[in-house]
């Protein structure tokens, strides 16, 4: 706050530190970069694109399509609920619909949409060429895409999970949910969350290591702060649901007893692990929105942000408290 507010514009520009390497890049360097990161022509090139703006946009478009699918499911649910004992959906179908809706909105829309904006905007806002690991970035996108397509393929094949997006054992255990539905949940959730973890790792590294010379942490746009907090939260939260899902998969397929009370297991273990992820998840979704507001208000009010330090501290505090409250 002090630095941006106390000096007039001209003075701030004059005192900005010099870039570390004043030598301008040569054309040879540019060709080298092109060979390494260019996507080449044709269909193969389309699939091998790694540029953060391309990947970010794909995240945004794909998760928007999933939003429409999840919304369509919700509309069918509302139709079913319009009158008591309506027969539009059978009880089994209704359970699949609301489970698919929840999983879609939480895992295939809300988080990937935020990540898409983060991946698109962050390098531009901090003045770097691309994300720290562009190929990993593309990998994360394809993991997300394949996971989402698999889930909807399962849905149309009649194998949609049906124990809610929270998927509590013992209902989701083998005894009360035989068949492959819950196996789809455990497999696909684990798979899709890998994509979130990959994006989080990249965003943290990019923000901490690749800022333009002179952009100290306390000069970062608030949007980038929000994304940094979101990425740190993902790093800590997502392993909870991944571990929980793997243990449930083992219960169902390898006769372990993590969640089976008659075998000494405990269904509460799932709730602890799941909500270790599920509660911060709400704020993981909120963070990019807070970042948007901070940027949009600043732009349209044509004033520097007021209370930068307080806002930053609030973002970080929200990220930490979200794990506990």
């Amino acid at each position: 706050m002090a630095i941006t507010r106390d000096l007039p514009t001209s003075e701030r520009l004059r005192t900005a530190p010099e870039p570390h390497d004043p030598k301008p890049p040569s054309y040879d360097d540019h060709d080298e970069l092109d060979r390494t990161w260019g996507s080449g022509p044709g269909v193969r090139g389309w699939f091998s694109a790694v540029n953060h703006r391309v990947i970010g946009l794909r995240f945004i478009v794909t998760s928007f399509v999933f939003l429409l699918l999840g919304g369509a499911l919700a509309l069918v649910m509302r139709l079913q609920l319009m009158s008591p004992d309506a027969t539009l959906l059978s009880p089994e179908q209704y359970n699949q619909f609301f489970t698919m809706h929840g999983v879609t909105m939480m895992f295939l829309f809300a988080v990937p949409m935020g990540e898409g904006f983060a991946i698109y905007m962050t390098p531009l806002l901090i003045g770097t060429r691309d994300m720290s690991f562009p190929r990993l970035n593309a990998f994360g996108y394809y993991v997300f895409l394949i996971g989402g397509l698999s889930l909807y393929t399962a849905f149309f094949l009649g194998l949609a999970p049906d124990a809610g997006w929270f998927n509590y054992p013992t209902l989701s255990g083998r005894e009360y949910s035989p068949g492959a539905r819950i196996d789809m949940y455990t497999t696909i959730i684990t798979f899709v969350e890998l994509s979130a973890l990959v994006a989080a790792v990249e965003l943290v590294v990019t923000i901490l290591k690749q800022r333009a010379p002179g952009m100290a942490l306390h000069r970062m746009p608030l949007f980038v702060w929000a994304i940094l907090v979101m990425a740190m939260m993902i790093l800590f939260a997502m392993p909870g649901v991944i571990v929980a899902s793997i243990m449930l998969a083992l219960d169902r397929m390898a006769d372990t007893l993590f969640y089976v009370p008659s075998g000494g297991g405990d269904p509460l273990l799932w709730q602890h692990l799941f909500w270790w992820f599920g509660h911060p998840e709400v704020y993981i979704i909120l963070m990019p929105g807070l970042g948007f507001i901070s940027s949009i208000v600043v732009a349209f009010a044509r004033r520097p942000i007021f209370g930068y330090t307080a806002l930053t501290v609030s973002l970080v505090a929200t990220g930490i408290i979200s794990f506990g409250l």
Binding site: T9, S90, P91, Y168, T170, L171, P261, D266, L268, F306
Partner: protein
């Protein structure tokens, strides 16, 4: 604000505490909304007063220490107010929990509620095993007495929620959860399973009947009695059918040869208000429809369709409808 399944129409100590918390939070949320809208309105009005600025960049970069200081003060006020609201809400929540916890008394009666897909087993516990009453899908409570509910599950996670009387509490397999409850206003209320528990979760309800204390004692004493053998021949044929057919494998009726434990106990069945866990009123016609095709009324439930001849069915309905 009224209703037999409404948290805003409290009929018990816990329910009153929850309703009071709800109203307090509504008041605070309204205040916050009004304050935010007032701040928004003030900002818009102020913006209109600032006439066209000749040089927006210079205007944005201008320094005005006095205005900054004032704004900082307002940020401080907002931070303190927000923190205060957080702490007050937290304290109120704690107070609500304490109001419910203060219901604990020594020597209180204990009632065990067990969640089963998709019905409720209720046992009125007693130090003498012979005096324990086992019934289903109805919870009877004495007004004005603290009762300890022992909440269990036989299969998946369920949740006991009678919003007029108390907040909800989960029934978790492998755990005994305890809920102190004190109803104050006699009447009939509705409890609903509040944790998704499978295909018929929607239709897992329970009537909660709050009696005046003496009335409750009389009810419980009547429930302890085994059923008498029916006098008329049709009902007696119904009893024979019940014992000979698969019915007795899952259901028990105290005073007969039916000892099944998997399904609801049917002793004094005719005194219950509903069948199929609150799904249909307990009338001979509805009972006939249920026995003819349980899967048509609650698809996926664990009661199979038992093939019965017409006279067997009529006798069975006559017998069950006479189990007072």
């Amino acid at each position: 604000m009224t209703g037999w399944q409404s948290a805003l129409d409290p009929a018990g100590v816990g329910g009153s505490a929850v309703a009071a918390l709800w109203w307090a939070m509504l008041a605070m949320a309204t205040l916050v909304l009004v304050a935010v809208l007032a701040a928004l309105g003030w900002s818009l009005a102020r913006h209109l007063r600032i006439t066209a600025v000749a040089d927006p960049i210079a205007f944005a970069a201008r320094t005005d220490p006095a205005a900054d200081q004032q704004a900082t003060r307002w940020v401080g006020v907002a931070v303190i107010a927000t923190t205060a609201i957080l702490l007050v809400t937290f304290a109120l929540s704690l107070g609500t929990s304490r109001a419910a916890a203060r219901l604990a008394v020594d020597g209180a009666a204990e009632i065990e509620v067990t969640g089963v897909q998709w019905w409720w087993e209720v046992r009125y516990l007693d130090s003498l095993p012979a005096r324990i009453v086992r019934t289903a899908n109805e919870l009877h409570l004495p007004a004005g007495r603290s009762i300890r509910l022992r909440l269990r599950s036989r299969d998946v996670i369920h949740s006991f929620w009678a919003p007029n009387l108390h907040g909800k509490m989960d029934l978790i397999p492998g755990h005994d959860n305890y809920l102190w409850i004190k109803a104050e206003r006699p009447g009939t209320y509705r409890a609903q399973c509040a944790e998704f528990c499978g295909v018929q979760h929607t239709k897992m309800a329970m009537a909660v009947i709050v009696h005046a204390p003496e009335e409750y004692d009389a009810w419980l004493a009547a429930q302890r009695e085994p059923v008498r053998s029916p006098a008329d021949s049709v009902a007696l044929a119904g009893l024979r059918t019940f014992e000979a057919q698969p019915c007795a494998t899952c259901h028990s009726i105290r005073g007969t040869m039916a000892y099944g434990q998997a399904g609801p106990d049917l002793t004094h069945f005719a005194r219950r208000r509903t069948i199929a866990a609150g799904e249909r009123p307990n009338t001979p016609a509805e009972l006939t429809a249920w026995l003819l095709n349980p899967q048509g009324i609650k698809p996926g439930n664990h009661m199979p369709k038992v093939p019965l001849a017409a006279d067997e069915l009529n006798a069975l309905v006559a017998y069950l409808s006479g189990l007072r």
